[in-house]
Subunit: 387 residues, 4 copies
């Protein structure tokens, strides 16, 4: 028995668009043929995945007549049933069609904004029909290169108007759906309107139904801005807002790479796995990545299997880390309680006066060594399999 | 009359630490002598500034005995009165003393966390005594290089505990103070806990008194993460949370430079001025920057004057931009209403059904040119003074 | 007379691929229709351009039969003649065809390397036929995401083998061609093999005919790596290797944007213009950029005109800068000669002994203020048209 | 026997300045006490290091009288002898003293340039006296924030003048010294003049004695610019110019962190070890890094030991990688020879004609899968110790 072979119990999911990515980029034509969604389902099931997610357009190309749509959906359902995959999440493609070239919910053209809402409602219907309970919003085109246009303040309002409307729609339809906003700092737009996980958390607080809306942080997106993905996960979990997660990898400060999970930075991937575990995340582990453009279809499945295996290997490392006696001792030594006062301090006027007047042994506190180099080296040695 | 000569009516403020910066860096010793705070006050007044801000430690070095503290404060007040400067904002230095080497409110040592609260209360007292109505929190040491320590989730709680306590203190004392969190992505820590303006906005929503707490965005900090500062201002203003602002400049993706306002990117500076104006910000325009380390004291005052002059020049550009008939026409042409439906759409079941079924002339929408290259070139030509 | 209206005497050139860019990106379909090369020629001439450059594939799609090729070329020549445009530079498309997915001259497959050489020779023939005297090599696919493949050292050798062969070909054919290598740090590859202008300069020194080979620095590419483009130009000019230049704009640390010249950072654009002038560059000023994807064809011409106008406006600023008496005085004051010794020092044993033993008035040197804040503020005020 | 315990045979070296780093940063005072150089020597020897390197100023503070200098040197030599450490490399501190605030060899003040040469000659004497055979030049202050000063072109000349002079000095003295230029993109200056390894390689080609001068690439420096360190090593080795190497770690796009080797990116560290091995580098493995500012002295030694252990663990991984049958097979399958022609191709007119006319089976070449996802996943699994 290979302990790292994925099984549905691991709740690994892939976007249809990930394994079907044809390897096109701004400078080159596709290197791989289009893939039938049912083939993707069959192969992912064979590899041990739990589910598959999609944009409306991945499954039912925009403009498909109703009868053809139904035929596609029925065929896809049969494939899911046959191979035992589920659809935990769905989303809308609001970026491929040139109609969205200057934004969907934040287009300066109100007709485009209305169209984006209409398209999203239909895509929500499709997602729910296939069983999705999380609905992701990645505002790929919500952003700007030219700030002179003067829509900066309006754009945030329009975005909010659209989300409020769509929350109402979900409630009105009785859909058991949670919304998850997916931030990204740039690309394809020069600057995106909800650039980081924090931005999305801040924006949610201004919505009419904040309780329905959380975030879908993506490792690559946060990394593009040079931010720590484990820290972003912690912020989302701290706010009770981690509704979904997009796992992949990325080199900082460049174009969106969507690399295989663990392909660039194994330590970040490790602390990602650990944060999900320590933060109590129980949703699907979704890989939003794709095989390198150099690869053929065999490379695609090597990529997909690699994402899952690396997650499982790091999960085993996390267990070892949490049990390692030297790690346990170092983590305990790192913390110090305050014998003179419990934390958190409860405010009262007299408590404040006493605290203001208290004398601290600052020299002792300055000299205390936290042992973090030692602890970090232990982490490295566990990651390398040397302890 | 020089139209760009600053006057107190412009509400320009500087931190004491900015003009007094001695030009020390990680690789070199100071190039300038320490500056007496009262000298800074006199010179800033002479240049036309409105106010001066400080960290507790800038004015009253940590550990100063009470009598000496009072003498320093009285002397500083006299200088303010004599030169007609005010103190709109104050803050705490929770980063210079090695006691804070692994965080202040988020130190793993509860004694340090208690000390940080005590120090902040005393610094709030000092700030209020000198007239401050905004109190800034820059968590310079709140962050981590080593995530293995296991405090990631606790750190956010500890941060919140401290802010909640300090809100209670301000209320209990009857202080007319608003708190402004200042985000920064990294430096001096590897990763900071509230890395972006969005992060702070999201975190505020989890506090006990969110209404007391806003943000103090800094141009350099947001730029270090490659994010748009005008966009960050818009997000803060949209949330009603722009309580203060730190103006300077910075090249993306490197160490914190705190350059003279407008020194790196004049277009970003222009849209910053425009966003403050269009967003209705009426607080002080605070420069959190310092002269290059190459400079002597003459260079410091050239730097300070330059910050203010550039702001005023860009303010004049903003007025010209908003009045330029070609700009007005281009901005009008950029937007399109929807003859078939008002925005924002008001949700009802029937509205949603109608919208889902509506036919859009997508080809027309795809082909519409927004004129953004033209508008952006107009902006450039106004900036260059050519129109 | 508009002093900023471009004329052929300004030697402005555009790539065919720039104005014909259809607005496709990794997340969206084209927003603009294909453009006939002769239409591009006519419009560029109308706007005042001097010349047009192309990749083989831009003019003659790969795989075009010989007769059709000749017909296309003849028609294009007629358009050039009719509109008075020249072709100063040509290049090879070694990146669009999936055959180059893992490199052209550095592919691990020797057949691809041979094909790349063959394609380049044919493209050189075409370029020379149309009058090009500079031949650019942008190794778009020369790079890697996976270093485990083991070709890292070989790749540089293969690259050199190919360039040496092509130098021989140009010499053998009697072509009056200089080669210009165009560096880029990443995209479409994870890491490119000649990432910066410096890398190319270093690599040239290892070639068989270094005198034939120089560089074609691109503003956006150097900026993607956070490097200074004016500094890169200075390094290329210092080495006598600035054979061509690609002008555009770019935000640091993100995907390749190819923005309108001056669209992001006017100060960098200004020092670019100044460096070209002070360094004595007399070649074409080539814009390698494209209109934003949001734009229609009107936006494309607004973009192209804007590139040229901004260059001319900055050229006028450069003249003013060099004549401004305060700037002249500040630049003079910035420098100091050494009364005790000429520079450069000529080595002799006794000179070295004397220099080692010399006493310097270090305190005076430490305190000297270079006046750089003042000078930089003068620059800003000239840029803003305020002086 | 611990296979990862360092021994002198591993040729690990540290800078005196690395383990003695007091933990000062731009926002905080030192957290650690100064360390006696002889204590550093004793401890490094105890941990298994091979040698120690220094700046003149680390060992003999600037301005030390001659007699005191001799006493310090003698005492240091005794410590080296006693503990069996060598000094393979030395360098000059041309950045701490405010006299160098605007450059050393590139200062606009010729007196500073002369002083920098004098100081370097004395430091070379000291280095040679202690046995150094490599002399490093890190131009920490060679750069600019303000390009208006007009020294951009002169600066490169001045830099070259100084290096040419110092080459003459070394030759004249009969020193068996090689010079190694250490590039860095920025910090402490806004932009440094030799920003990348490539820049240094290009610059060397313009010197009078290029054969004496190579590079000292630093992992953190190249990473700050988002470049690949293994690729930079390959370029230096390809040019025969890898004279020394600085190992550490760094997060991209931020301040210079000088982290423990392997602390951030284990895969980059692995390919660094592999490139040194495959490229035949036999010089010292120098760690130019320091313990986190949070740490006490115990943390310093945990840091130093960790650097060495991680190198040795990755060396063992490299051996395993090169022997793993699946890796060997994948690397072999990745490459393809060309049955129709040897590589490198030898130029002749007839060869060129034949190649231009050759028909390639492009479809077959397009479809070929290189197996890089598979190979990269094997690498990850070896790194994690799972295979």
């Amino acid at each position: 028995m290979d302990p790292y072979a994925p099984t549905p119990a691991d709740r690994f999911t892939f976007g249809l668009w990930t394994v079907s990515n044809p390897g096109r980029d701004p400078f080159g034509e596709p290197t791989r043929a289009p893939m039938d969604p049912t083939h993707a389902v069959a192969k992912l099931a064979e590899l041990g995945a739990y589910g598959v997610n999609f944009h409306d357009h991945d499954l039912v190309p925009d403009g498909t007549p109703a009868a053809e749509r139904d035929r596609i959906v029925a065929r896809f359902k049969r494939a899911l049933d046959e191979h035992g995959l589920v659809v935990p999440m769905a989303t809308t493609n609001l970026f491929t069609d040139p109609v969205f070239k200057d934004g969907a919910f934040t287009s300066a053209d109100a007709r485009v904004r209305h169209y984006a809402i209409a398209k999203t409602m239909r895509a929500m219907d499709l997602g729910v029909e296939l069983g999705a309970s999380t609905y992701v919003f990645w505002g790929g085109r919500e952003g700007a290169e030219v700030d002179g246009g003067g829509k900066l303040f309006d754009a945030l309002s329009w975005y909010r108007d659209a989300l409020d409307y769509l929350c109402d729609y979900a409630r009105d339809q009785g859909y058991d759906l949670r919304f998850a906003l997916e931030p990204k700092p740039n690309e394809p737009r020069g600057h995106a309107f909800l650039p980081t996980v924090g931005s999305a958390l801040g924006f949610i607080a201004t919505l009419q139904h904040p309780e329905m809306v959380g975030v879908n942080p993506e490792l690559a997106h946060e990394t593009m801005a040079g931010l720590s993905f484990p820290h972003a996960l912690a912020a989302a979990l701290d706010a009770g807002k981690l509704f979904h997660v997009d796992l992949n990898d990325q080199i900082m400060g460049r174009f969106d790479q969507d690399l295989r999970f663990g392909a660039e930075n194994l330590k970040t991937a490790f602390f990602t796995v650990l944060a999900l575990q320590e933060g109590g995340y129980e949703g699907p582990r979704h890989f939003d990545a794709h095989a390198l453009r150099t690869e053929d279809e065999a490379g695609v499945w090597a990529f997909a299997l690699g994402c899952m295996r690396t997650f499982k290997m790091l999960e085993a490392k996390a267990a070892r880390f949490l049990e390692d006696p030297d790690v346990v001792a170092a983590r305990a030594a790192y913390r110090a309680d305050d014998p003179e006062g419990a934390w958190p301090p409860r405010y009262s006027g007299s408590h404040a006066e006493a605290l203001k007047g208290r004398t601290f042994d600052l020299d002792a506190l300055r000299l205390r060594g936290p042992g973090l180099e030692h602890l970090d080296q232990l982490t490295v040695e566990i990651l390398l399999g040397v302890r």
